[in-house]
Chain length 347, copies 2
């Protein structure tokens, strides 16, 4: 293993993740690790699946948001919190704030899926919308923070958020210490950073591979260049992962610990959602299905011929399930109508 | 509580369920107990949900089938096993047999959903089909058993199967000892019998209510008459619960321990499936959603005015998720197109 100077500098450490786990015990759902002979056979690999779509608020984001808030002072909580999000962090922040008695304001894109907006609404947060293409959401947040004296809770760019998210890997390794590789979605990079830091601190032989949507590969490019490489993120059905650049506090951790980043196309994401429905009985949003999609598309290289069985046990983080029926229904129906070739399906 | 002569006569006891749990540890998925503020608010009750759709083979049936097989002699296992099922018991039996090295033959209705048939096939069982309306499946099973020397593994009518299924209630009460009522689907009655026997042996103050599809209320009628009251089961989207009579070994247990049986219509089942998708991110087959449907339809009486908040904490067993996309997609799409009044939804 390489020297650990960078990660200790950021504070995203194995012990930080362990402390977060202790603070989150009894608050988060200990999501199940699912297996399915049918899914493993369809994918051509031995899979264990961490179903974070079953987490409170439907995504892993609650772990980081609650952990960050739980470390604020009573005075900060009383003044209130603000955060920006494509939806899942907003829901997570709204619930965490409700549980800890803090007023919450969330900044969401105007095109947020209805199911996410309704859920935020129910949790009593103030909602402020911004235009994804013309406004900088961080500026909107900064202005609200300055104006109303609110504490900013980043969706990824916070050590407390990242180590909170890293508890996903901690639980996965407790339940399946024999995995060889863990696949994790990459948006801002907080989940990947928290998971990779924990995995390498405790199970250094386990590979950690990030997955981004094709055309939204800011982290892949940054990893290759070894410094932040912002892009104009392309369109993708994985709305939660359309980021322009890795979170600054996540990047050094990712550079240090992530073994690789791969990208996948939307059709593989849809196929992964369909397999989640069929074999796991879970609802996955596109961003939540992307790690499984990487196994279907061949993005994660097999040890031998592409399309053959992948060596080793794969831990797959399915990160969220907040998707409108209109979106889910039309994606899966189209996939069935097309009768898509089942990629990488032996026999 | 009434005398316990009947249940000890059948052997479906609290300690039987505990022994089954010990035997199933590490083999079955410890399915999560899910909560959702959005779902509780939509239903107007404080809910905890046992998500058995996430069980191995997609339904609770694996608990009973594996437990039954695990108690057969090596000689019986070597000769092989046979069972009949609308699909979920067949999958469960096929996997349990595979794990324990026994050849399996499963007898399924000719109209079995494709997703269930494909799953049985993958598990290597021999499949024999029968016509639901013209053939007696028990006779088909008996003939195969006689002809090939196979051990019959009933889907409900077995003490080992019932106490295996009762581990659902054991886990639910371990995770939520404060529930006031448990709602459980009723087909052959094995799940309800195992759960009710365990609940009343250990938490006698907790109510256990069975739920049947409207027109398939053989158990409700039998409970009212205090003896088996066979019917010609009507059509229902809950294909797993279309039984003509309670299993003979389940009936005395149900008569003794079940507090009530209620029935629900298909539209409430569809609504429950939609709420499972939206709030819990789980896929429910119609039979698997019926216990939640009973809360939506008003079948389970509120303490005060219908439509108001139900008192107490409700434990809801969502028993399975094996449903074809064609069925699921069309049911939920029609529900969205109709813009159904959300029954019992406050505010």
């Amino acid at each position: 293993m390489r020297a650990t100077a960078e990660h200790t500098a950021t504070g995203v450490t194995g012990s930080g993740v362990r402390q977060a786990a202790a603070r989150l015990a009894g608050v988060v759902v200990r999501t199940p690790l699912l297996t399915s002979a049918g899914l493993s056979s369809a994918v051509g690999a031995d899979l264990v699946v961490k179903a974070e779509c079953l987490q409170v608020t439907g995504a892993f984001k609650f772990r980081g948001a609650y952990h960050h808030l739980s470390r604020l002072s009573p005075e900060d909580l009383a003044r209130g919190v603000v955060g920006a999000s494509s939806g899942n962090h907003a829901q997570a922040l709204a619930l965490a704030a409700q549980l800890l008695g803090a007023p919450a304001t969330v900044v969401v894109p105007a095109d947020i899926p209805e199911v996410k907006l309704a859920a935020i609404d129910r949790l009593g947060a103030d909602v402020v919308t911004y235009e994804r293409d013309s406004q900088d959401r961080d500026q909107v947040v900064a202005a609200l923070s300055a104006e109303r004296g609110l504490c900013v809770v980043p969706s990824a760019n916070s050590v407390a958020v990242m180590v909170g998210a890293g508890t996903v890997a901690l639980e996965l390794l407790q339940d399946a210490p024999d995995v060889d590789t863990i696949l994790v979605p990459v948006g801002g990079g907080g989940l990947a950073a928290g998971c990779a830091a924990f995995v390498k601190a405790t199970h250094p032989r386990v590979r950690v591979i990030g997955v981004e949507p094709y055309g939204c590969n800011d982290t892949q490019l940054s990893l290759h260049a070894k410094h932040s490489t912002p892009i104009a993120a392309a369109s993708s059905i994985a709305d939660g992962l359309r980021h322009n650049a890795p979170a600054p506090l996540a990047l050094p951790v990712l550079l240090h610990y992530l073994d690789d980043v791969v990208t996948v196309h939307d059709d593989a994401i849809t196929e992964a959602m369909a397999l989640g429905f069929e074999h796991l009985k879970v609802v996955l949003e596109p961003s939540g299905a992307i790690a499984l999609a990487a196994l279907l598309s061949g993005a994660v290289a097999a040890s031998s011929t592409p399309g053959t069985h992948l060596d080793g046990r794969m831990g797959v983080v399915l990160s969220g399930g907040n998707v409108d029926w209109a979106t889910f229904g039309s994606l899966i129906t189209r996939r069935h109508e097309r009768g898509l070739p089942r990629l990488h399906r032996p026999g």
